[in-house]
Symmetry: C2
Subunit: 338 residues, 2 copies
């Protein structure tokens, strides 16, 4: 088969890779219906994360089950499935507490920008749709695989409650979909922080009530103005830098919470400021699996349309252009069709 | 009147101070029945926090109301009251959310190691007991004013649930009383980290099921051993150093939480480790007022006896000896009787 492999910063190639095969009796092999490029893939593409050798890329996926191992009982060939970037058993204590990305048996699922994929722990990892979806549902189901699930976790981690005021730091796909999640969870006011017109537009479509273009402490000052001097009840951080984390913490009111899902890079949180802020922090790699059944259901019923976050669709063979477009911020998120 | 004043590191004097008077119509003046020395008072005593000039000391108090301002309606002279170290209106949005120590109108209540005290926002700050308590209840009611309320907040912030495994970092009065709080909140296993025999004994009396004497990463390793490799559901941090914070975070399982109430000194939390830990953080100056009615009730009914944390009782005039005894760790906590 063929798939995307990164060879160095800026160097993504669509090339031959070995066909995946069932290695463990709990594996499934799926034929990908769609994949995409993630904002976090750009850390490698931009040379910020080191690349030690040619590496298959991608970790978001939906597809049709081709084959399952002997111990797989819940998933059958022919089903359309959605999975997450960490395989999980869905039965250990950590999974039962809803933190599947820290599952005792977790395994990273990489190399999904390809024609086929091996998914470990298929029963615990994959969620099947009621039937094979029509083509127009595929982008939304693919969004559930990571960016929607991650935005949703951020909103839950930030404690979004009905009637709450929510601020969102970061206008990438995750930030935009956390706006949608906050709306679905009943937030009354959703303040999206963005200075890009097309992203502002999408944020408003997803449910944002206010747009703030200022950043850093200037952005914090505007949030305070909008919230009677107090700050937001819930703040979602979807960037992962020192500036964005501090902007998020300072935008929350005492007793409020920050849900952070931007992968932290060179971040050090000042203990004393955090102590006196009275702001709760929870974040990390989103346990998308916790939310998948609910998200698939909402998409299936047409309640939410997160697939709108894809503003570029390319043949899988043109994956390199997907990286370029996202790197240059010409696209929010690129969908790849094998 | 007379009260404790710190003049420099190690230099606490019992000396004449102006009698407090009603300054605002929401004030109350109380005659102190008891006060005490707090672990956080030692930051000044040890010269770690700067002392800019002679400063009245103490922030824990119980006493009899002597006089109230014209607008005070809920508190009357002759009542026995318990207050907290921040006066709060108990009506603003932040108080209603339970974070009274960040009240919009909060005011620090200092100088309680004295004969009389002015308490601002008396209606919002003070909680009266059903009647004037017998002498034997006074230490427990005084503990509610800070150390019990702070330990209780730490347990709540750490999300202690019935059946949970809880680890406590710090064996000062707050750490010991967070053991008691965890027990009251239904924790099944409570692991106290302490290497001092007298404190271990009190921890066991308050409900600890295990004692761990190791510190830092060695302490973390023991906690993991005791919890099937996962870590505790809830961890209470009651020290405030870099080492103790990291020990707390690393002792919690993914999806677990740290409640931290040690005043953070020179602490910087590594963003990436926190991100991948999946551990929730909440802490800060404890909103004791949130818990006071419940705590006073439990003490009144004899359900809890937090006053046992006082292992030294002195006349207020001997306050300097109270500081010395705590500084030298000869006493867990010194009670002062005017």
């Amino acid at each position: 088969m063929r798939g995307a492999v990164i060879h160095g910063p800026g160097d993504v190639r669509f090339e031959a890779r070995p066909d995946p095969v069932v290695q463990a009796p709990t594996d499934a092999i799926i034929r990908l219906s769609a994949a995409c490029v993630c904002g976090s893939d750009l850390w490698e593409y931009r040379g910020i994360n080191p690349i030690t050798g040619p590496t298959p890329m991608g970790h978001e996926y939906v597809g049709i089950v081709e084959e399952v191992g002997a111990e797989v009982t819940g998933i059958t060939p022919g089903q359309f499935v959605v999975g997450s970037f960490f395989a999980s058993d869905n039965t250990c204590e950590i999974c039962r507490a809803g933190f599947h990305t820290s599952c005792r048996h977790r395994e990273f699922v990489g190399g999904t920008q390809a024609e086929f994929l091996r998914v470990p722990l298929a029963d615990g990892t994959l969620v099947a749709t009621p039937e094979v979806p029509s083509d127009d549902l595929v982008p939304s189901l693919l969004a559930a695989s990571d960016v929607l699930g991650t935005g949703w976790f951020a909103a839950v981690a930030a404690g979004v409650q009905p009637g709450a005021t929510v601020a969102v730091v970061g206008d990438g796909a995750v930030g935009l979909l956390s706006v949608l999640a906050a709306r679905e969870l009943g937030a009354e006011r959703i303040i999206a922080m963005s200075r890009h017109e097309s992203r502002q537009k999408l944020a408003l479509e997803f449910g944002a009530t206010d747009i703030v273009t200022e950043r850093g402490d200037a952005g914090v000052a505007v949030i305070k103005e909008l919230t009677d001097g107090l700050g937001a009840h819930s703040v979602i951080e979807a960037v992962g830098t020192q500036e964005s984390m501090m902007q998020a913490i300072r935008s929350a009111r005492p007793g409020g919470a920050v849900g952070y899902v931007g992968v932290a890079h060179d971040v050090a949180l000042p203990g004393e400021e955090l102590f006196y802020s009275h702001v709760q922090l929870l974040g990390g790699p989103a346990p998308v699996r916790r939310f998948l059944p609910d998200l698939v259901d909402r998409i299936w019923r047409g309640t939410i349309d997160p697939g709108r976050v894809f503003d570029l669709t390319l043949p899988l063979a043109d994956v390199a252009e997907g990286y370029r477009a996202m790197d240059e911020r010409r696209a929010v998120k690129a969908l790849l069709r094998p």
